[in-house]
């Protein structure tokens, strides 16, 4: 046993040392910056950060957009994933390929495409004005709507993939059985599919939420400085004000929120499980 442990320890050591030196130490050094005061350790930087109205607005906006993107991705994701797993194997492979395809294109290119699509002369506005939904082009660019759409498009594939693999692991006859026993589609989803695929939802939800919160390119290009998010604020603090303390505060907030989202989703999943 001891020998096994020593061997296991020896095997894990190089990876642990590498991760420790190149990841943990710099992160700890960076984050400790936010707790360093003139005379010892303090949380003053955090109090200062949240005392600025702008910072509070940005914090709430980031949280709100990330939560909305996650919720909408889950709804669309379930529908898409359910359709995909019910396809014949060939079609399934093709559809998953199509879902994954955008992930192979740089987010910069994808986000720039949205500038064209959502622009005054873009396809969305052309459609809206031609079917008479709007008299003149609507300004989408540099609004929260644009950031929302951009983030949703960016992270939806992650949700779909997680849910597809969760649905595939679900017993084949669970849904037909529930139907035969008289459950309507809502009950089937709520009482059968959701509990059986919660792991996929937790993984997908965490990926989408964390991704949306920490994305930089999409809010920077589609939101600009009119729709500041925590990441774009962090960049501004460092490059303009050379304020590494505020940057470290924002970095820790982002990390804490990512962990919190994961815990919350897990809790929700297990709460349903116990029932």
């Amino acid at each position: 046993m001891f020998q096994n442990r020593a061997e296991a320890f020896a095997l894990v050591l190089p990876a642990a040392v590498f991760a420790g030196v190149t990841f943990l130490v710099p992160v700890v050094v960076l984050l400790s910056e936010g707790f360093r005061g003139a005379d010892g350790w303090t949380i003053q930087a955090y109090i200062d950060f949240f005392s600025h109205p702008l910072n509070r607005t940005v914090f709430v906006r980031t949280l709100k957009l990330a939560a909305m993107v996650t919720a909408v991705a889950a709804v669309i994701g379930y529908a898409a994933a359910f359709a995909i797993v019910n396809l014949p194997p060939k079609g399934k492979g093709r559809m998953i390929g199509l879902v994954v395809l955008p992930l192979m294109i740089s987010p910069v290119a994808r986000t720039y495409a949205w500038i064209v699509i959502l622009g005054r002369t873009g396809i969305v506005n052309q459609a809206l004005t031609s079917i008479g939904l709007s008299d003149e082009p609507i300004r989408f660019l540099f609004t929260e709507t644009a950031v929302f759409i951009g983030l949703l498009q960016l992270f939806l594939p992650l949700m779909i993939i997680s849910l597809v693999s969760a649905l595939e692991n679900m017993p084949r006859d669970a849904v037909p059985a529930a139907r035969v026993l008289g459950a309507n589609w809502f009950q089937v989803f709520w009482k059968v599919i959701l509990p059986l695929t919660r792991e996929g939802l937790v993984i997908g939800g965490t990926l989408v939420f964390t991704g949306s919160m920490t994305a930089y390119i999409t809010p920077a290009i589609l939101g600009g400085s009119k729709v500041l998010m925590l990441e774009t604020l962090l960049y501004q603090r460092v490059t303009v004000a050379n304020d590494f303390v505020a940057a470290s505060v924002i970095a820790l907030i982002l990390i804490v929120m990512a962990f919190a989202a994961n815990l919350l989703l897990k809790r929700l999943a297990t709460a349903r499980n116990k029932r």
């Binding site: 702008l54 500038i115 064209v116 600009g224 400085s225």
Partner: protein, 342 residues
């Protein structure tokens, strides 16, 4: 006697070989902006290496990174000379990171525009390029004669302004203040005016490269830009003009600095002098890399069109003094964050 001769001869030979070796080993490390490096290499770096018989090490990056590196290596400088904005040069000088530049060691010093000779008045920097900033606009849609027109009803929902965090930002606000008749350095009045109109501004841009696309998509009809970005607009298949506002054009300057306790200061000065020479400044201008700070440079009219060039233009530039910018930057940002970014 013979022994003495031999000793002397071998001593001389030794000195010669040391001298030759050190000429070959001489290395100059410079820190520059990342853009147009291919052109710089061809026009400036390679010819200089050939001329001095030394090796040039070029480090690039944005100013924050580059200045942070100079500061981190303060005790044992790696960089010999750097080019930064006049404001960053003053910040570096105040932090004790730069050395005085002796004009007597620069043979081309007298050829420079007055504004470039000692931009911050501390003898620590030399201007090597200027840029004007004005408003690029759709002449078929609006007419712009003043910086104040940026906030006019005609442009509501059709104008992009630079973010306060960019170099163009404070310059635009400064000119807006001038148009409003309020030139207080805190820029409170123009920032408040922008704040009142913020819903009518399409975006507060961070990179001017983004503007060409916005103009192309008819998202915007006007935006303040630097002259260095003009060529992208002038090539567009649209009637776009460069405004000549009655308050004048805004402007900026990039400068050369010498690192304090740098190991190759003489070589750095030699390089600066070479860069400021009429020959190199002309070549850089002709390739649209940098507008010249050297008064002797002349280029063809179609090239001058894309540059900030000529005594009248350069002397008419409204450049925010570096000290004013440095002392007020934090105030501008917090004012902006309260009135505009909210």
């Amino acid at each position: 006697m013979t022994i003495n001769k031999i000793l002397l001869a071998s001593g001389a030979a030794l000195m010669l070989s040391v001298g030759a070796a050190s000429a070959q080993d001489r290395t100059l490390t410079i820190s520059v902006y990342g853009f147009a490096q291919d052109a710089y290499k061809e026009i400036l770096y390679d010819p200089f290496e050939a001329k001095c018989g030394c090796k040039l090490v070029v480090e690039t990056g944005n100013s924050v990174e580059r200045l942070a590196k100079i500061e981190a290596n303060r005790e044992n400088p790696v960089i010999d000379m750097a080019v930064v904005s006049a404001t960053d040069a003053l910040a570096a000088a105040r932090a004790g990171l730069t050395e005085k530049i002796d004009p007597a060691k620069l043979s081309n010093f007298d050829l420079l525009y007055d504004k470039a000779r000692d931009p911050n008045g501390d003898g620590m920097s030399i201007g090597y390029t200027f840029y004007a900033s004005s408003i690029a606009y759709r002449s078929d849609k609006v007419d712009i004669t003043s910086w104040g027109d940026l906030l006019s009803d005609d442009l509501a929902g059709r104008v992009a302004l630079p973010n306060v965090t960019t170099t163009q930002g404070p310059a635009t606000l400064y000119m807006l203040g001038k148009a409003m008749g309020d030139e207080a350095p805190d820029l409170k009045a123009p920032i408040a005016a922008v704040g009142e109109h913020k819903d009518e501004i399409v975006t507060f841009y961070v990179r001017s490269s983004q503007l060409v696309q916005l103009m192309q998509q008819e998202e915007i009809w006007a935006a303040p830009i630097g002259r260095f970005a003009w060529s992208g607009f002038s090539k567009m298949d649209m009637p776009i003009k460069w405004a000549t506002p009655k308050e004048g054009q805004a402007g900026g300057m990039n400068v050369m600095i010498l690192t304090k306790d740098g190991k190759n200061q003489d070589l750095a000065l030699e390089f600066m002098d070479y860069w400021l020479s009429t020959e190199i400044q002309t070549a850089l201008a002709e390739n649209l890399v940098d507008s010249p700070a050297n008064m002797e440079v002349t280029v063809a009219p179609d090239i001058a069109e894309n540059l900030t060039i000529g005594k009248e233009t350069v002397e008419g530039l409204n450049i925010i003094p570096a000290a004013l910018e440095l002392d007020n930057r934090e105030t501008w940002l917090s004012e902006w964050n309260t009135k505009v970014a909210q």
